[in-house]
């Protein structure tokens, strides 16, 4: 199965993400932001970083890059899309995910391991976890405070669209301790933690690997791609 990792000027988790997807058997490849198509992708990942230098707002300019037209089409057609950290910000700006991400409540850039609970396993990015599992993943962001209006928050909770939730310290002041959400159709997922930074034995932290295993498994189930 083919997993496209989109690169914007300023992406900096692209290689780690490519590697994490490759380690679980995906045929992962880069797609530059100027590209108009995704090269026959079965799944798309927007990696972390500072696309376009976070100018104006994180993700605000990236969402209008040519590749995002293809990503939006792919997502609207039900294709699995994962946004990690800056990728999550881009997906919110693009309107593919509800809510937005603002400067951390404590003003500080947080770079540390955090505990999160897997609240939903009914997504292409979390199906390999056990519902309710508490895992440790690294976060590294200055703008990860999830905000949404009350109605949206209620909908997220009622429809079980919160995918990951901080269980220990809330590192950024996110509403409802939200660390990751999915779209109403569940095929688009965004998360502030970096599973790709905890997906390789050599790092001695592998609790993020199942995000990529989930993607590959869901694609196999859908009969996507030719290995």
């Amino acid at each position: 199965m083919r997993v496209a990792v989109v690169r914007f000027p300023g992406s900096n988790c692209d290689f780690d993400t490519l590697r994490a997807a490759s380690l679980v058997g995906a045929d992962a490849y880069f797609v530059w932001h100027r590209e108009g198509d995704l090269g026959g992708a079965d799944a798309v990942i927007l990696p972390g970083g500072f696309a376009y230098g976070d100018y104006l707002r994180a993700g605000a300019i990236a969402r209008f890059s040519p590749v995002m037209k293809a990503v939006v089409e792919f997502a609207r057609a039900g294709g699995p899309v994962l946004g990690i950290c800056n990728g999550f910000q881009v997906l919110c700006e693009a309107g593919l995910l509800p809510g937005g991400l603002m400067r951390n409540a404590g003003s500080r850039f947080v770079s540390q391991p955090v505990e999160v609970r897997v609240e939903s396993v009914d997504t292409p990015c979390t199906s390999a976890y056990t519902k309710g599992a508490i895992i440790t993943l690294p976060v590294a962001h200055g703008e990860g405070r999830y905000v949404a209006d009350d109605l949206t928050l209620r909908q997220l909770e009622d429809d079980e669209l919160v995918v990951l939730r901080y269980t220990g310290e809330n590192p950024n002041g996110s509403a409802h301790e939200i660390a990751g959400v999915s779209s109403a159709e569940r095929n688009v997922v965004g998360m502030m933690p970096h599973p790709e930074r905890a997906a390789d034995d050599v790092l001695r932290h592998t609790s993020g690997a199942a995000v990529f295993t989930s993607l590959v498994t869901c694609l196999e189930r859908l009969g996507g791609g030719a290995a």
Partner: protein, 85 residues
């Protein structure tokens, strides 16, 4: 067509915490400006917009805010036309 100077002000929504504003306020109080309160930090943009008249220039700028310059979930915006250039 005339060109208008347009000022756009983008502010974090009042209901949302503005940690930048808090930090600036704290620094001001530290400097002895005791009377300062409710400091908020936003963005100011200036644009030269070609349009038939001031109202069209404002309309154009508001459309820019809705599409790109402001995020309606987290920010409010205000547009002022400052006259012809």
């Amino acid at each position: 067509m005339p060109t208008y100077q347009v000022d756009v002000r983008v502010m974090p929504r009042a209901a949302l915490l503005d940690p930048q504003g808090k930090a600036v306020q704290h620094a001001l109080v530290e400097l002895g400006f005791d009377g300062v309160d409710r400091v908020r930090v936003g963005k100011a943009l200036t644009l030269a917009v070609e349009a038939a008249d001031a109202e069209s220039a404002a309309r154009e700028a508001r459309a820019m805010c809705e599409r790109l310059l402001a995020n309606p979930i987290t920010e409010n915006f205000a547009v002022t036309v400052d006259g012809e250039l």
